[in-house]
Amino acid sequence: MQWVNTIVQGVLTGGLYAMFAAGLSLIFGVMRLVNIAHGDFIVLAAYLALVVTEALGIGPLPALLMVVPLMAAIGYALQRGLLNRTLGDDLLPPLLVTFGVSVIIQNGLLELFTADSRRLQAGAVEVATWQISQGLSVGLLPLLQFVAAVAVIGALQALFYRTAFGRAFRATSDDPAVAQLMGLDNRHVFGLAMALSLAVVGLAGVLLAVRSNFDPSIGPARLIFGFEAVIIGGLGNLWGTLAGGIVLGVAQAIGAQLDPGWQLLAGHFVFLAVLAVRPEGLFPRIRG
């Protein structure tokens, strides 16, 4: 029963990893941009939520109504003002610039909030559990996070394959030059993609902040988890990304169960094993 519990907790954590990954995968898919600052934006969203909850005296869930749109606006402005200038045939400039953004965010947060570990208080929901059977209980909060992750992946999938928005994203991804001939302004489409990516980051950041302690330095590790979930699941497949996040979460949970020091190691091992055996990921791109 202990192992069932471990796996269930791993699955629930995996939902959060999938949310980290979804935004990363989205902008890579649309504009071939690897956002090194992705993890730091997650942390930035967590601090934004901290400021909003403390200043307005509201809970983390209502704070989402401010953090998510704010992160989306930051994303659009970042893309139009900075990242669009770095895009071209060469993959290196956007990589370097987002690396610089990562450094700026980390140090900016360190200046403003110090290196102290912080946490968002969510109240009673934090400790509420749902007893499934003897020895197996699921925290309401992790469960809500997982449901949110599935909802986000489902919503992104529907957006990509059922709406004019998604059509524009996929067309621009396929052939940016010809997409312009359809009347699509690439700079705007890229801006919207980054806005969407950071909106998901906003949600993920708040959920992370409620679940665990955070400080300005934890961004890069979230980036790695996101990367690993994308690669395990297979590039360009959102449901695969969810599966990748779950695989990573379960591997970490099992590792931690064996020895508390093996949590991250076990996750990296599974990632390397998938990369070695199935480099295209478990569920490579399917044509929608």
Partner: protein
């Protein structure tokens, strides 16, 4: 600003257009005119600058502002997404369909600006019935000829006043080429002007009323298609 080139003048006028790829100059002072409802053919050898000319008109290459006049406005420095909003659609060389979109999605994205006009999904399917039954297939699952029909349909969905066709016969069987060219009069009948870039000279001359021959980035021959004798074309094509 309607001037001498207002609604009564030619629909498109290219004046003394130059185009560069880095340091390489591809077009030297090219001037052409396309009247309303007219079909103009542009012929020339490989590398003569035909595709560059179309890309410049469509806004994919930078150009001097007044080098391209369309419907009375200078559009030379406009980006491609604004040019198409004004009514110029390009069928790019090699079709360039969106591979992750279905046939119907390719057509829908062509019409995403919602310019008013005669062309709708239903009209495109009526023009190319083979596409209607394959509407939900990925565009990559179609034959070359059908893909070319999607590329044409996608451009028509923008309801252009001017349709630019870059080598629509490239890589297709002669019977398919004849089939596709047989649909062009239906497009012109809706009042759309056409510019056809072709390697297949006979095909181009048969479809067009005016012809321009480019040679090494310059206009080497310009005239009515019926005046383009084999000798005149050969001279313009190869330079003497």
């Amino acid at each position: 600003m309607p001037d001498a080139n207002g609604p009564t003048g030619p629909l498109l006028e290219v004046r003394d257009l130059a185009a560069f790829y880095g340091d390489f100059q591809a077009l030297f002072g090219v001037s052409i005119a396309v009247g309303r409802g007219e079909v103009v053919a542009i012929i020339g050898a490989n590398g003569a600058g035909k595709s560059t000319l179309l890309k410049s008109i469509a806004g994919l290459m930078p150009a001097r502002r007044d080098a391209i006049m369309f419907d009375g406005a200078a559009i030379g420095d406009m980006p491609a997404h604004e040019v198409v909003a004004r009514g110029i659609a390009l069928v790019p060389e090699g079709r360039r369909l969106f591979a992750s979109l279905t046939v119907e999605e390719n057509l829908l994205i062509g019409g995403q600006l919602r310019r008013p006009g005669p062309w709708t999904l239903a009209r495109v399917y009526a023009l190319f019935p083979a596409l209607a039954e394959r509407r939900h297939l990925p565009s990559t699952a179609l034959s070359g000829g059908q893909q070319q029909m999607v590329a044409l349909g996608r451009a028509l969905m923008a309801n252009p006043k001017l349709l630019l066709c870059d080598e629509i016969s490239l890589g297709l069987a002669p019977i398919i080429i004849r089939d596709i060219y047989a649909r062009l009069p239906a497009i012109v009948a809706e009042g759309t002007s056409l510019v056809i870039v072709e390697q297949d000279i006979a095909q181009a001359l048969a479809a067009a009323s005016q012809v321009y021959c480019l040679q090494e980035g310059r206009v080497a021959f310009a005239g009515a298609a019926r005046d383009a004798t084999r000798e005149a074309v050969a001279a313009a094509y190869f330079g003497e």
